[in-house]
Amino acid sequence: MHLYILRRLLIAIPTLIGVTLLIFAAMRVLPGDPFATIEGESIGTIQLTPEQIAKARASLGLDRPYHVQYLAWIGDVLKGNLGTSFWRGEPLSELILRRAPITIQIALMAVLLSWIIGLPVGMLSATRRNTWLDYLSRTFVTLFQAIPSFFLGMLVILIGILYFSWRPSLTIVYFWDDPYKNLEMTIGPAMALGLGLGAFIARIARSSTLEVLGEDYVRTARAKGLGDRWILIRHVLKNALLPVVTVSGLALGGLIGGSVAVERAFGVPGLGLALVMAVAERDWMLIQNLALFYGLVFVLVNLLVDVSYAWIDPRIRYG
């Protein structure tokens, strides 16, 4: 197992190098650079001449050849230095560390919520296949899968403001500082993300439960007189869990890296909003480091998912 993990970690290195190359190239290929934001935002107020732009670019080292810029960045990362914002000069590690707990918490809560909703609904739907309960649950599953999470977010805010004069906090409150305010801030986004994911989990849980219910060992269990509930909990659940774990793990990575729309809808200052801000400001250094961070999260979550297979299903062995 240890060798397997080590091998996976080594394989992750070229993956991450690929991520850095892609994001570095993407930033240079996409139109606009840090100065374009000044120009674009200031039409009518401040207009820089080409000479002024060239001077300012040079002052930030943006006139250096691309390979020099790339190697300088990678060199800094390897030294454990995520660098500083192109413009403001604040350390990016500070910004990422401040915001990451909120984004990760929202993602974890969303996954937890999706399990709480999706697993029972999916299993119930499978065990009551083709009954009105199955049809009802499938209807809701389809509905929640179809509703975009940011739309749910907007609904939550609208109802909160109009009827309760409430909206989630616009500034970061950590759980360990004020649990109530923290939950107030994170529960909305977690619900908006978790309901859609829960619907997806319900679908996966239903199909994998149906598959497991047809297995020989379930028939054997029934034959030896075990009750349906016991069979479901003892034999079906654990075996049906494998695809659910796979989906959840990948979803977790996706939620950490892709909660931009929901964070924006709720105004939650997490990593998603930081990315939007960085892109808007063309703060390439922040974008590059966030992409690298997300890449790292994906790699680690995938590794955790694969390792968890062995724990869930003892038949799986790594060597």
Partner: protein
């Protein structure tokens, strides 16, 4: 490795899906605007002129002040310190009084520039929270950084607009008094004694010299964003340690007003020297009533009271918090949910909700200095012909555009200057002008005649309308313009939507005919703005409009000081612009102020936009 086949299949598929999803989200973010664009956001356009006032608009009843501030208290500064009557709701200012500022001792109630609460018995302490966009690319305001609306609380100018009279009057700030020479070219400022920078050093004339010389003679590598505004400033000298003399090449009627904006904010010589004249990565100490305590990027700023502020009486509030709320609706909901106490511009729907809660929330609509407008590419056929441009101007229905935009932002019937400027034509009169009036019959007939004269009787075809890819104006006004010009004049056009970051390059590239955009006037007095937008070869003259006659008119306007002559000139020049139509004005905007009524000490019903300093504000709770 052996594993479950089903799980493996899902893993690969989902891995691909998630990766693509993330990439799509990132790319989508890349194509988004930094924030919903609004003209005249205060971080960039200057705080405007001292001689303006809201003009009645077609806006709803919300434009009226919801509550006139109560009379000044016994503790308030005597009339000399607060020359306007804060008890009144804003009304057109008679005129700025920039030259009547005799020298007096600093920080004495009644001395020029010494401010006090406009409400009786001000309370000390507490915190006030503002909600608006508080991000910035960097911190050097004179290099187009910011956010001025936050940092301004920590700095001062030589002169400022009076927050206790709704920003009608120019009053001394770091200057204790000033004199303007008879020909209007020499400004002499006597500096306030006893002012210290936050790092403890003394404020002197050297700081003024360092600040303004950096603007007008920028060192290598510095982008002096405001240099064009100070084009007439020939020299800055210090006859002694506490006197500054600014000499202009020609008189400028708006010069003092320009000094009240973020362009005139003063940095310390020490900070500039220590940082090699570059403050982009440094939040340099100021002289203001508040000191920076904490900054969390893209989240919040916290300022604390400066215990050594030159006016020992101020500020009343201990700390100011600024939370990042880039969306208009987030700002409004922050107030409605008690997370913020005030915002200088909220969304229409939250503003209307605030009006319903009038017992606890104040609302007021303030004339803006920004507008939506449609450039013509005057360097390209057929729009190099003024008749073709005027035909479009006549055919464009402002009423229909306002209807299309009514859920977004308040627009006003204006020509080429803000309705907040004292010499602006009233909306009623604007609506009598060809092109602006509601009844389009005559205008459309005239427009068709003009096109025929220009040899385009068959109509305009293959017109390219360039616009940003996001933003309410791009998504609403652009297609509406396309439809109106098609309906009224048979113009066949296509919309070319590009990312905001490359819009300027596209505009410079010239492969377009019309471009719907936003502008922000540096001042409410449009002189500087017009020079920048309409003068031959000017940096912001993106449509490459050129008319020697108008250039000459601009030159005369720029150096004219007589208000009555200026008023006549403004009117003649607007008539000229309507004939020439270098762009089609859709309308200048208004901003929607919303605040908790327990905030006292100054009127929030202002005659102009300025998101800056609030030393006399206090919290009554």
């Amino acid at each position: 490795m052996s594993t479950d086949r089903h799980a493996t299949r899902i893993t690969r598929r989902l891995m691909l899906g998630q990766t693509l999803g993330f990439s799509a989200a990132l790319l989508a973010a890349c194509t988004q605007a930094p924030a919903p664009s609004k003209p005249a956001e205060p971080a960039k356009p200057a705080a405007p002129a001292p001689t303006t006032a809201p003009v009645p608009t077609a806006a709803p009843a919300a434009a009226k002040p919801t509550e006139a501030p109560p009379p000044a208290s016994g503790q308030a500064a005597p009339a000399a310190a607060a020359p306007a009557k804060p008890a009144e709701a804003p009304k057109p200012a008679e005129a700025a009084k920039p030259t009547a500022a005799p020298a007096q001792a600093a920080a004495k109630p009644g001395a020029p520039g010494v401010l006090r609460s406009t409400d009786p018995n001000p309370k000390r302490g507490g915190k006030a929270t503002f909600a608006f966009s508080v991000t910035t690319n960097h911190f050097d305001i004179h290099q187009a950084g910011g956010p001025a609306a936050v940092l301004w609380h920590t700095y001062n100018n030589l002169v400022r607009l009076d927050p206790t009279d709704g920003l009608k009057t120019i009053i001394p700030d770091l200057a204790e008094s000033y004199e303007i020479s008879g020909n209007g070219t020499i400004y002499t400022f006597k500096l306030r004694q006893g002012v210290k920078w936050h790092d403890g050093t003394d404020f002197t004339a050297d700081d003024i010299l360092a600040t303004f010389n950096r603007i007008i003679k920028p060192p290598d590598g510095m982008v002096s964003a405001f240099k064009p505004r100070f084009g007439a400033l020939k020299s800055v000298e210090a006859p002694d340690k506490m006197t500054v003399k600014m000499t202009l090449t020609e008189p400028r009627a708006y010069f003092l007003e320009l000094l009240t904006t973020e362009s005139g904010m003063v940095y310390s010589k020490k900070s500039l020297d220590e940082n090699n004249q570059d403050l982009r990565k440094v939040i340099a100490p100021g002289t203001g009533a508040y000191i920076l305590k904490e900054h969390k990027v893209g989240e919040r700023w916290l300022l604390e009271k400066n215990p050594n502020y030159w006016d020992k009486e101020l500020p009343y509030i201990d700390s100011l918090e600024f939370i990042h709320a880039p969306q208009w609706s987030d700002r409004g909901t922050a107030i409605l949910s008690n997370q913020a106490d005030i915002s200088w511009n909220v969304s229409k729907e939250t503003y209307e909700e605030g009006q319903k809660r009038g017992n606890e929330i104040g609302t007021f609509m303030v004339p803006g200095a920004g507008a939506y407008q449609i450039y013509f590419n005057c360097a390209k056929k057929p729009f190099d012909d003024a008749r073709v441009r005027r035909a479009c101007h006549l055919a464009l229905s402002r009423q229909d555009l306002f209807e299309a935009f009514k859920t977004q932002e308040p627009l006003n019937y204006t020509r080429y200057m803000s309705h907040g400027f004292e010499f602006a034509m009233s909306p009623d009169d604007v609506l009598k002008q060809p092109g602006y009036r509601a009844d389009k019959k005559e205008d459309i007939e005239q427009a068709k005649k003009l096109l025929a004269e220009a040899g385009l009787a068959d109509g305009l075809k293959n017109v390219v309308i360039l616009t940003a890819s996001v933003g309410p104006h791009a998504q609403t006004l652009t297609p509406a313009t396309q439809a109106i010009l098609k309906q009224n004049l048979g113009v066949e056009s296509t919309i070319k939507a590009v990312e905001r970051a490359v819009l300027n390059d596209e505009l410079r590239g010239g492969q377009w005919d019309l471009s719907l955009n936003t502008i922000g006037m540096p001042l409410y007095d449009p002189t500087l703005g017009w020079i920048d937008y309409f003068q031959t070869g000017a940096a912001n003259n993106l449509g490459k409009y050129s008319n020697p006659k108008f250039d000459e008119m601009l030159k005369q306007l720029d150096s004219e000081q007589d208000p009555s002559k200026r008023k006549t000139m403004f009117r003649e020049m607007e008539d000229f612009l309507d004939q020439e139509s270098p762009w089609m004005t859709i309308g200048f905007t208004s901003h929607l102020h919303m605040w908790k009524k327990y905030l006292k000490g100054m009127p929030f019903e202002r005659v102009r936009l300025s998101w800056g300093k609030t030393e006399t504000m206090w919290v009554d709770k």
